[in-house]
């Protein structure tokens, strides 16, 4: 197996879904069964990506394989020197793992959709869009430069627009698609600015070259501040895609899309892209940038978790839970727990996809009922859905033996270690608080949906367990959430192949002066590093992480179990009345139930503001600018009328006056012209007399 082979493989894996998209879209009308082609393509892609991962980990476990081709050759250019824009693939452990995760989820979603979407009028087009989405996402994962990342970033945006707004007859669906795209673009603006900064500094888009320059000490505008700015700007892209605060508002609305789509783009792929982006550029983040990221992540973990506590729509609870979990990952990156962040990205992808597909299965069975107040008791009717849903809930709550426990615990101990090293204790505190809330709202969801008595008898009676094509993905995904895929030790990922062998420590390129103290490589770290005890950053950090592991495990277990118990007390055993609590803390309840009024706030400020501004501009254009134009025409006309009048009355008047005058004079003098000789003689004599008098007077 050669490097070349892996590159070829990755190119095929990238373009297969595009082929599926084109074929399915073009032939969708003519061949009703064409969607099988798309599913088949995805299956092929899955197999190939698995081979890719296997080959990468087995034969090239320590290398980064890069292959690129010149896309745009501007040649030697004045001002810049030579400008070449490359496109290319980067296969390292992270991308090889990620592509497999993307393909697993995408394939299972395709499979699930075969029955879920049955009877839809645009059935084939749905599969085509899934193909386009998978293509875009694969591009993000496999790219080696930031421009190409941005390109696929936008493509993911548009394919999610198409998928979220798939049932575009519903206004709410097309609204949601539009909102998703536009909110994402706000983040993308930041990413674009970051990309521009990188380009003018380094004249290249390639990650490797940029990192290399930064390692050499070449910074944007030669200042660490601008490196921080660059990092934060690029992170803006992640804020949009990963639905982080304050741009998280699109994700819950995106639940208007078909449920399998939610599983695909809102659990495992699109929203994960943001985290993946930060993972990619982690090496150039400064301490300040990391702090910003950690704060955003913390807020995004906390706010949606509080909202999820009170929501009644099964998908919305999951949506907010997704935002919250993504916030976890972002926070983990911010506090330097790089490996755990990626680890959680992978584990979360599986159990959240399982939860979404499970909710899809429930919604399908309940004939598009999504309100959990109308559910209940479904565990008897839908045992497989129930079991997998329950198991994924256990995983997301962070109970041992699940993958969720491993990654979540890792993030919490990372945050704990960070707190102990820097004094920022708020991060671990919020981390544990959110862990408790997560356990609570997940089990609230499980209990209200599957336990107790059915609250809507009619719908309950018609409910049924889903068919194989829908049940199989659920089972696969929940099995993938078991610990042994990642490590032999259910309590710690340290010795596991995933954590210590597959994900490598990040290489930090940021100048030492711009890093956290604990991220400066010290001598001790270099000497003590070994296979059993891999050293991240510095010895101090390893120590801190080591010490935080114990308390973190105990605390996280404690909060998870208390959250679950609380949920049972309130909703299963009904010892505490949820309604009474809601009544007692009415303002808080309303605040949470109304999602902190973010949508209202944004609608009133940004949306209304833009629309008002746009009306103002249109008014200005119509009344002022066109007013001036038309006004000048009117003035010209008025002037010309005036000149016309002047011409008619004054100038012509003068001329005519002269004519009249002469006519008048003529009229008078005509009298003299009598034609009689006698008159003429008399006039002649008179004239001579007058003249004589006149001359005499001189």
């Amino acid at each position: 197996m050669s490097e070349n082979f892996l590159i070829q493989l990755s190119v095929i894996v990238l373009f297969l879904p595009l082929l599926g998209f084109i074929v399915t879209l073009m032939l969708g009308k003519k061949i009703p069964k064409i969607f099988f082609f798309e599913v088949f393509v995805l299956f092929t892609g899955l197999v190939l990506s698995a081979i890719l991962l296997f080959g990468k980990l087995t034969y090239f476990s320590d290398s980064r394989i890069v292959s690129e081709f010149k896309w745009i050759d501007m040649g030697n250019v004045p001002v810049f020197g030579s400008i070449n824009i490359y496109l290319g693939m980067l296969i390292d452990d992270i991308s090889a793992l990620m592509i497999v995760v993307v393909y697993i989820i995408s394939f299972l979603v395709h499979f699930f959709s075969i029955d879920y979407m049955k009877g839809d009028i645009r059935y084939n087009r749905y599969f085509a869009y899934l193909g386009l989405f998978t293509f875009s996402m694969s591009g993000i994962v496999l790219t080696h430069n930031i421009l190409m990342m941005y390109i696929f970033w936008e493509l993911v945006g548009i394919s999610s627009y198409l998928l979220i707004g798939f049932w575009y007859e519903k206004k709410s669906a097309s609204d949601a698609g539009k909102k998703a795209f536009i909110v994402n673009r706000i983040g993308d603006l930041g990413m674009l600015a970051g990309l521009l900064l990188l380009f003018i500094t380094y004249n290249t888009f390639s990650f490797e070259q940029i990192f290399g320059e930064i390692a050499k000490g070449n910074l944007p505008f030669n200042s660490e501040f601008w490196l921080t700015v660059t990092g934060v700007l690029i992170f803006c892209g992640a804020i949009g895609k990963s639905a982080q605060f304050p741009l998280h508002v699109w994700l819950p609305d995106a639940m208007e899309g078909p449920t399998p789509v939610s599983a695909l783009i809102h659990a495992a792929t699109m929203v994960a892209a943001g985290v993946y982006l930060v993972v990619r550029v982690f090496g150039i983040l400064t301490a300040d940038a990391m702090l910003v990221i950690a704060i955003i992540g913390m807020l995004s973990a906390f706010i949606p978790a509080t909202i999820a506590l009170t929501q009644n729509d099964i998908k919305r609870v999951l949506a907010y839970s997704t935002v919250s979990q993504l916030g976890y990952m972002i926070m983990a990156l911010g506090v330097g727990a790089y490996k755990f962040a990626f680890f959680h990205l992978v584990t979360h992808a599986f159990f959240k996809a399982c939860l979404f597909l499970g909710s899809g299965s429930v919604i399908h069975a309940m004939h598009h009922e999504q309100d959990i107040r109308n559910m209940g008791g479904l565990r008897k009717k839908m045992p497989i859905t129930y079991a997998t849903f329950l198991f994924s809930s256990i995983a997301i709550s962070g109970i041992p033996l699940t993958s969720g426990f491993l990654s979540k615990d890792g993030i919490l101990s990372g945050a704990y270690a960070f707190g102990s090293l820097t004094g920022h204790w708020l991060f671990p505190f919020i981390g544990f608080l959110v862990a408790m809330m997560t356990a609570f709202y997940m089990f609230r969801l499980v209990i209200l949906t599957f336990h107790g008595e059915p609250r809507n008898k009619d719908k309950y009676d018609h409910a049924h367990e889903s068919k194989f094509s829908m049940a199989m993905p659920l089972v696969v995904l929940s099995v993938l959430s078991l610990f042994f895929w990642y490590t032999p030790n259910p309590l710690s990922p340290d010795a596991g192949w995933f954590y210590s062998k597959w994900i490598k420590d990040p290489v930090i390129y940021t100048p030492e002066s711009a890093r956290w103290d604990f991220m400066k490589t010290d001598e001790a770290a270099l000497t003590h590093s070994s296979a059993e005890h891999p050293v991240m950053y510095s010895e101090t950090y390893t120590e801190a992480l080591h010490h935080s592991h114990g308390p973190a495990v105990i605390l996280s277990l404690l909060v998870a179990i208390s959250g679950i118990l609380l949920a049972f007390t309130m909703y299963q055993w009904k010892k505490i009345s949820a309604d009474k609590i809601a009544e007692k803390f009415k303002p808080l309840y309303n605040f949470s139930y109304n999602k902190w009024y973010f949508d209202e706030l944004y609608d009133k400020t940004f949306v209304a503001g833009t629309l008002a501004l746009s009306s103002l501009v249109a008014w200005f254009d119509r009344v002022i600018i066109d007013g001036i134009v038309d006004g000048s025409a009117t003035v010209t006309k008025a002037v010309s009328t005036f000149t016309g009048k002047f011409d008619n009355v004054v100038v012509d008047g003068l001329v005519n006056f002269m004519a009249y005058l002469s006519a008048f004079i003529g009229l008078i003098f005509r009298r003299f012209q009598t034609g009689k000789v006698q008159t003429y003689i008399i006039m002649g004599i008179f004239s001579i007399v007058i003249l004589l008098f006149l001359f005499k007077s001189f």
């Binding site: 004045p78 575009y168 900064l197 009306s615 600018i625 066109d626």
Partner: protein, 534 residues
């Protein structure tokens, strides 16, 4: 190549026009096919031109590196009172600046001819004027003599006036006169500067004598200015500044640049679909082309001085146009304002004064030409069927006309700069170039808001017209017919092709843009040296 391809490109439509004038009024299909044939030949000629194009020649200020050049004495009057000898050349040639636009003109005109099939009255007059317009446009892009350029510039004006004024909508007379007066107003400035330049530059004839010249390449050479010429670089008064601004304003009206843009929405709303296509697809580019061809190399020192303002106006166009578009109810007006916004990217890219930005600007001219042409065709297709353009009247067209909506998606997504489609490349190049020039960095960052606003109004329009539930009155709308396919497919293919492989167009312009940037830098050095002398 000895074949005078540019002359043919320019005058084939006139030949078509003459034939049409001899045809009987009732012979409708002969008239239509003559026009189609004339524009079709133009496309073929443009393709021939492209295939013989030498990518390494720069053009701009060197007569020898212009391609397919034709030059002979056109007007010669000796012993003219006061002036002496008047010599005006018929001088055509293309370089990387004009070739993309020649190609664009050929393609868009051909497609506009197809779109003209729906014109239902006075066909003979319509197509005759249409072809005359075509000649004017082509001539503008290939002339290298200022006088000749100005003649073509004015030739294009009159047919346009009649095409809007006779075949337009209800307020056609208002729109036509507005268009006409605005452009004429701009022409006056251009004319004055042309005369000023004429009396300031001389060319040396073969016998060593010097005569005043309209040759723009001679105008770019500072050695050719007479010492006492009004626009001579040595003239201590600010005439060159005034001339630059005047010339710029003359071209800016055509772009149209804020605040001279209000003729555009009116003209578009009233013009019949094919004329809108021509207007947006080709005419607007004359403004930006003129600035690049005349202002930049003839007044390089002022271009450097005023680049910030050019960028600023670019930014205003982008943001203002986008905001104004968002408030529109009329589909065509919305697209018209989006043109204002998109042409702002051209200005911004030009203000960068570097290869990235200027390439982006020229590419944006081409891409905007194809994308907006497609957008107007799309509106036209809908208008032909429904006879309304009010955005609130529609809804759910996507369900009724799925294939049409597929094309709509391509055009809309291209307009909002989706990667993989051509609009993205030009936008990103403009941003990269402009951001590289430190004085307009802030302007560039503010301008990026345009892509957000663009997504806003485009997707909102998409939602209002194509998504949602289908209204009952639109239930019998038919999907595209064969002629409409023929209009939309080529444009779609171009948009996708240039999105995936932009080098096809970038390579054409690269050498010229590079020599332009280089030439301007060198001149900048020269000018700063003479300012030092003063």
């Amino acid at each position: 190549m000895n074949f005078p391809i540019l002359t043919f490109l320019t005058f084939i439509p006139v030949v078509g026009m003459v034939i049409i004038l001899f045809l009987k009024k009732e012979n409708v299909s002969a008239i239509k096919y003559t026009a189609l044939l004339a524009t079709g030949i133009q496309v073929v000629l443009a393709a021939v031109l492209m295939s013989n194009y030498n990518y390494s020649l720069g053009g701009i200020n060197e007569a020898s590196s212009f391609q397919f050049a034709e030059k002979f004495r056109w007007i010669e009057i000796s012993d003219f009172p006061w002036i002496g000898t008047i010599k005006i050349d018929y001088f055509l040639g293309v370089d990387g600046l004009s070739t993309p636009l020649v190609l664009l003109t050929a393609i868009v005109t051909f497609i506009a001819t197809l779109s003209s099939w729906t014109i239902d009255r006075q066909l003979k007059g319509y197509f005759a004027l249409f072809l005359l317009l075509d000649t004017g446009m082509m001539g503008v892009f290939v002339s290298l003599d200022f006088f000749l350029f100005f003649v073509f510039w004015e030739i294009m004006l009159l047919p346009m006036y009649f095409l809007i004024g006779i075949w337009g909508g209800p307020r056609r007379e208002y729109a036509a006169i507005k268009f006409f007066l605005y452009t004429l107003f701009g022409s006056i400035f251009i004319l004055l500067v042309m005369i000023g330049l004429y009396f300031s530059t001389t060319e040396t004839l073969a016998d060593g004598s010097k005569v005043f010249t309209f040759n723009i390449l001679e105008m770019m050479n500072t050695a050719n200015y007479t010492v006492d010429g009004i626009l001579s670089p040595l003239n201590p008064d600010n005439w060159r500044f005034i001339a630059f601004v005047g010339l710029f304003a003359g071209f800016a009206i055509k772009i149209p640049m804020f605040p001279f843009h209000t003729w555009l929405p009116d003209a578009h709303v009233e013009a019949p679909t094919p004329i809108s296509v021509i207007l947006a697809g080709v005419l607007l580019k004359m403004g930006t082309y003129g600035i690049l061809r005349f202002n930049y190399p003839i007044f390089p020192e002022l271009t450097y001085q005023l680049a910030w303002y050019i960028g600023l106006f670019g930014m205003i166009n982008i943001i203002y146009g986008a905001l104004a578009a968002m408030a529109q109810r009329d589909f065509k007006k919305l697209i018209a304002y989006s043109s204002v916004s998109h042409m702002g990217y051209c200005l911004l890219g030009m203000a960068s004064l570097n290869t990235m930005g200027i390439s982006g600007a020229i590419l944006q001219m081409f891409n905007h030409g194809t994308i907006t042409a497609m957008l107007f065709l799309i509106v036209g297709v809908l208008y032909d069927r429904t006879h309304t353009r009010n955005l609130d009247d529609f809804g759910g067209i996507g369900t009724q006309m799925p294939i049409y909506t597929g094309f709509v998606s391509v055009a809309f997504f291209a307009a909002i700069g989706l990667p993989g489609l051509s609009g993205f490349i030009s936008e990103i190049f403009v941003f990269l170039g402009a951001f590289s020039y430190d004085i307009i960095r802030v302007i560039t960052i503010i301008s990026t808001l345009g892509i957000l606003l663009g997504a806003g109004y485009m997707l909102w329009t998409m939602q209002r017209v194509y998504l949602g539930t289908l209204k009952e009155k639109w239930m019998q709308l038919k999907d595209l017919d064969r002629r409409e396919y023929a209009m939309l497919i080529p444009l779609t293919l171009i948009i996708i092709f240039l999105g995936v492989y932009p080098s096809a167009m970038l390579d054409v312009m690269n050498a010229s843009v590079n020599s332009m940037v280089k030439f301007m830098q060198d001149s900048q050095v020269f000018f700063s040296s003479i300012t030092g002398l003063q």
